[in-house]
């Protein structure tokens, strides 16, 4: 399926220069007209899949941190709305009452100032702001800079150019995209970045924290109870990178997966199991995967024994992940084939090179990666 190219940057630049010659009106409408005409959803590789049961809304927080934030947000909004009406109503009334009547152009009484009024509308805002400031400081000192709880699960979150890596030092697990956590357990994230600045943000769990190369920022909250019955593999809470980090900043997503306690134990045990290689195509896939071990590792295979940090994500239980390419597309046969054919199709500027695999090689590598690493937990 030929890759359908969007407008490539250089042609667009020349068009922008001509645009200025043609003048504002025609240019803008020309562009949007062309856009509507050529729009067709189905065969377009850039399609970003959704498919998470909890979208990124900050409104209904489910951890204590996000509930505190939303409670503070509610009090601030009420005060601020009150002030807005305290400004809007006198303004509209003044405009209505003191509009110039026809033909009466004698100058009005020249008022200069009124000390009491000035005093009032200086003190009242200060009092209102104190109502915002006190709860703000309470929430700050309740959550920020508090030492990690002893029973908290330690996770190292490392942002890379356009995917998230999660390391569990206590369980020796390295995974990507999915942050698996048991329910009702305190979590202590140490967030940093391997290259440019990113920002780790799962809106429903709580505020975002910048991932900066050379800094370790801590974020901690207590996970919510697991809603879904365990068999469905935990509830997915979507998150996305919030700091401009290059061309595929929009496609750098991660997910918080909340299991029951047993579900999490099963996941921990299952994650590092070696891949089950049964069918012939899976064996071919394993051979071809030999070319990938420079950047990727699968626990329990020879690739994991090579020392050194891997550039690419760890693919131990890749089969059981819901999405591939850091949440860009659903983890299906066809999407993985598109990715292996040319990664830059799905993620512009992706650092993974085009390996030039033939179709049969792609087929067997896909079956190896998706079936043999699949673990149901």
């Amino acid at each position: 399926m030929r890759r359908k190219t969007g407008i490539v940057p250089s042609t667009l630049m020349r068009m922008m220069c001509m645009l200025r010659m043609w003048g504002l009106g025609a240019g803008a409408w020309l562009v949007s007209g062309a856009a509507w005409a050529q729009k067709s959803f189905d065969d377009m590789p850039y399609k970003l899949d959704g498919g998470f049961d909890n979208p990124m809304t900050t409104i209904s927080g489910i951890t204590e941190l996000s509930r505190d934030i939303n409670r503070l947000y509610l009090t601030t909004t009420i005060i601020v709305t009150g002030v807005f009406f305290a400004v809007a109503i006198p303004l509209i009334y003044t405009l209505y009452k003191f509009r110039a009547k026809e033909g009466d152009d004698t100058p009005p009484k020249q008022l200069h100032g009124n000390v009491i009024l000035e005093f009032l509308w200086t003190v009242i805002p200060v009092v209102l702001l104190v109502f915002i400031a006190i709860p703000t400081w309470q929430v700050i000192f309740k959550h920020d800079g508090v030492p990690a709880r002893a029973d908290a699960i330690k996770v190292h979150v490392i942002g890379h150019q356009w995917w998230w890596e999660f390391q569990y030092p206590d369980y020796g697990i390295k995974t990507a995209f999915e942050l698996h956590l048991p329910e009702n357990t305190p979590v202590d994230l140490s967030i940093t970045s391997g290259d440019v600045s990113h920002a780790f943000w799962i809106p429903k769990f709580g505020g975002k924290t910048s991932a900066i190369n050379g800094n370790i920022n801590r974020l901690s909250w207590v996970t919510p109870p697991a809603k879904m019955p365990e068999v469905a593999g935990g509830d997915y809470y979507q998150g996305q990178c919030a700091e401009l980090c290059g061309s595929s900043h929009a496609l750098m997503r991660h997910v918080g997966v909340v299991h029951t306690k047993e579900g999490f134990e099963r996941w921990v045990k299952a994650h590092n199991q070696p891949p089950k290689v049964e069918t012939a195509s899976q064996r071919d896939g394993e051979q071809i995967f030999g070319r990938c071990i420079a950047c990727h590792a699968i626990e329990g295979t020879v690739s994991a024994t090579i020392p050194g940090e891997k550039i690419g994500p760890n693919l131990s239980s890749f089969g059981s992940r819901s999405h591939l390419g850091a949440g860009t597309r659903k983890n299906t046969e066809e999407n993985l084939a598109i990715w292996l054919r040319n990664p830059a199709d799905l993620k512009p500027g992706a650092l993974m090179p085009n390996l030039g695999l033939t179709e049969p090689e792609i087929k067997s590598l896909t079956s190896y990666l998706r079936q043999s690493t699949y673990k149901n937990y």
């Binding site: 807005f84 009005p108 008022l111 700050i140 505020g207 929009a250």
Partner: protein
């Protein structure tokens, strides 16, 4: 038209007179025209971005192009539209308002315009070779380093900002000296018009904030050119250093954008309600308070970078403190309208919409002045909505109001009122339709600067509504251009004082003569011109005949072409830093010749006959 004494041989009209002009009024017009042209470019950037975001998984423009448009839209609107348009008002009206023949250093004034223009052209020439800076208007550190941005795109940004900063700094020193040193006799500081006060505070902010961005840009260009490790953590550098240095400049910068707008709104509201500005001295002190506090709040842009609880708490307190003087100003504007006879001209509509929209923007700002809430709002569309309400609903509305208000004085013709009102309501509705839904997108967790989004996030409707609003605003801008050019030739002839104004510039013919005042007025009251027209109890006074004008007392500075030459030298130094070719022979060659051009024209400038 009395012939003012010019030494012979200088043409009065034609391109050459514009290139060598040192008259603050012509430089003001040059600033305004170039600012409005740059606005057209930045407006197209905004339209392309909104078209791309209209629907999920849109493929009109690629990711790199979108990031380029985000950066150029932000940088151009702030540095190439709002600041120069405010500078146009400073240039044209400060000498008129304080009763001075011209600015303190006319040729330096011309120099700062030409450096600005070359800086703007350098920044926009990145389009022509397709290497548009794609790092956001504040270019955070790591992303701008050589290994993540190997092309020259970031160099365009760094050197563009460097040169624009130099232009604003030279202009700031010039205007600071003019306002404090060249006021008409009798005009004490507390008898100056309010717009001159906000100009003064803006110049102080510029003088003190620009060196910080100059140093930050030098550090970044050294990182990219000579491999020093200021922002490279591998070399012991500190990524957050850029964020700190940028926002130490960045926050005074946003007050530089809003203070002139506040001054213009105060002037328009006072004139249109035929009443003096309510609580003038309080307005002056609150402007100074905003300016001073501007240096104490920069880290509220960085609540999520892990500065620790104490820094967040202190900076949130300082940020909330700034809401107090702003609130005082808003209530003073409403009290100015109270008891007046308000004429709803287009300028008055713009000023009133500034008060309403800026209040809304300021209040949404207070929401994320508290760090916990800011961790949810930071880098989301809520912040985009906030600063568009404050910058677009605030500064741009006020500047357009200023254009409608002072167009008669600059060109001698009124702008068409009916077309103006239609254009205003298009702007007002389009603006709110575009940016009000962005608050919802922000709360629904849509991050900033993403070139596309998944269909099931719940963002589809609001993004479509925003794009609709954007096109409505574009129509409004188009109507403004129509009204602008139509009124230039066919507008109703405006006398000296179409709005029955309160300040000195309305005592001059419109457009004013090149030497401004025939005789420098002695000022006795605040709102001097109103006190010359009306007695205390509001009856028209018979105006004393203006004293006889003898042209011998006027000697105007001669036009000089050294400003444009020196500005071109500075441009050569800047571009020399990253021109490719022959190793870096061309680069060093251009920079060194640039330095020599600057040195040579500096000497020629100094020894030019005055």
């Amino acid at each position: 038209m009395s012939a003012s004494t010019h030494s012979a041989g200088y043409s009065k009209t034609g391109i050459w007179s514009w290139i060598t002009t040192v008259d603050h009024k012509r430089i003001g017009i040059l600033y305004a025209i170039s600012a409005l042209l740059f606005m057209v470019i930045a407006g197209i950037d905004a339209l392309l971005m909104r078209t791309q975001l209209a629907m999920p998984n849109n493929d009109i423009i690629s990711a790199e192009t979108y990031n380029g448009l985000v950066t150029m839209h932000g940088t151009s609107m702030i540095f190439l539209f709002i600041m120069p348009l405010s500078a146009a008002f400073f240039n044209y009206f400060t000498p008129l308002l304080i009763g001075a023949p011209d600015v303190a250093f006319p040729r330096l004034n011309a120099l700062s315009f030409w450096i600005f223009l070359f800086g703007g052209l350098l920044l926009n020439s990145s389009y022509l070779i397709g290497q548009v800076p794609a790092v956001g208007w504040f270019a955070y550190a790591n992303l701008t380093l050589k290994q993540y941005n190997p092309t020259h795109s970031v160099d365009f940004w760094v050197w563009g900002i460097q040169i624009l900063g130099l232009a604003s700094l030279i202009a700031a020193i010039n205007f600071f000296t003019t306002i404090l040193n060249m006021r008409a006799p009798g005009m004490t500081l507390l008898k100056m018009p309010i717009f001159v006060w906000t100009t003064l505070v803006t110049q102080v902010l510029l003088i003190l904030a620009l060196p910080v961005i100059t140093v930050a840009c030098v550090m970044l260009s050294f990182d990219r050119a000579f491999g020093t490790g200021f922002f490279d953590p591998g070399a012991g550098g500190y990524v957050l250093m850029w964020e700190h240095l940028f926002w130490v400049f960045g926050h005074p910068e946003v007050y530089i954008l809003i203070l002139p707008a506040m001054g213009i709104v105060s002037e328009i509201l006072a004139t249109m309600s035929r009443k003096p500005l309510f609580g003038y001295t309080v307005m002056v002190y609150s402007s100074c308070a905003i300016g001073f506090l501007g240096f104490a709040v920069w880290a509220h842009h960085m609540f999520t970078v892990g500065m620790g609880p104490w820094a967040n708490a202190l900076f949130s307190a300082a940020t909330m403190l700034i809401a107090v003087p702003t609130g005082v100003k808003i209530f003073n504007w409403i009290s100015t309208l109270w008891g007046g006879k308000i004429r709803f001209t287009t300028a008055a509509l713009y000023a009133i919409s500034f008060v309403a929209m800026f209040t809304f923007g300021g209040l949404s700002g207070i929401m994320h002045s508290s760090p916990p809430i800011d961790t949810q709002h930071h880098d989301s569309y809520f912040v985009v909505a906030h600063f568009h309400y404050v910058l677009y609903g605030g500064a741009v509305m006020a500047l357009f109001g200023g254009i409608y208000y002072w167009f008669p004085k600059v060109t001698g013709r009124m702008m068409n009122e009916t077309l103006g009102k239609v254009q205003f309501w298009l702007y007002m509705i389009g603006f709110n339709v575009t940016f009000f839904p962005m608050h919802f997108l922000g709360v629904q967790g849509m991050p900033r600067r993403i070139y596309t989004y998944a269909p099931d996030q719940g963002w589809n409707l609001w993004n479509l509504v925003c794009t609709g609003g954007a096109y409505l605003t574009a129509l409004g801008a188009f109507l403004f251009a129509v009204n602008f050019f139509w009124s230039l030739w066919k507008g109703k002839i405006a006398g000296n004082d179409p709005w029955d104004g309160r300040t000195l510039e309305w005592s001059l013919p419109s457009p004013p003569l090149e030497h401004n005042f025939d005789v420098i007025p002695t000022v006795t009251h605040l709102d001097e011109w109103w006190h010359r027209k009306y007695s205390e109890d509001g009856k028209r006074k018979v105006m004393a005949p203006s004293p006889k004008f003898d042209p011998s007392t006027i000697h105007l500075p001669n036009p000089s072409f050294w400003p444009i030459v020196l500005a071109f030298g500075i441009l050569m130094i800047g571009t020399g830093f990253f021109l490719p070719g022959f190793g870096n022979a061309i680069a060093i060659g251009t920079s060194v010749t640039g330095a020599l051009v600057v040195l040579g024209s500096g000497f020629a400038w100094a020894y030019e006959k005055p």
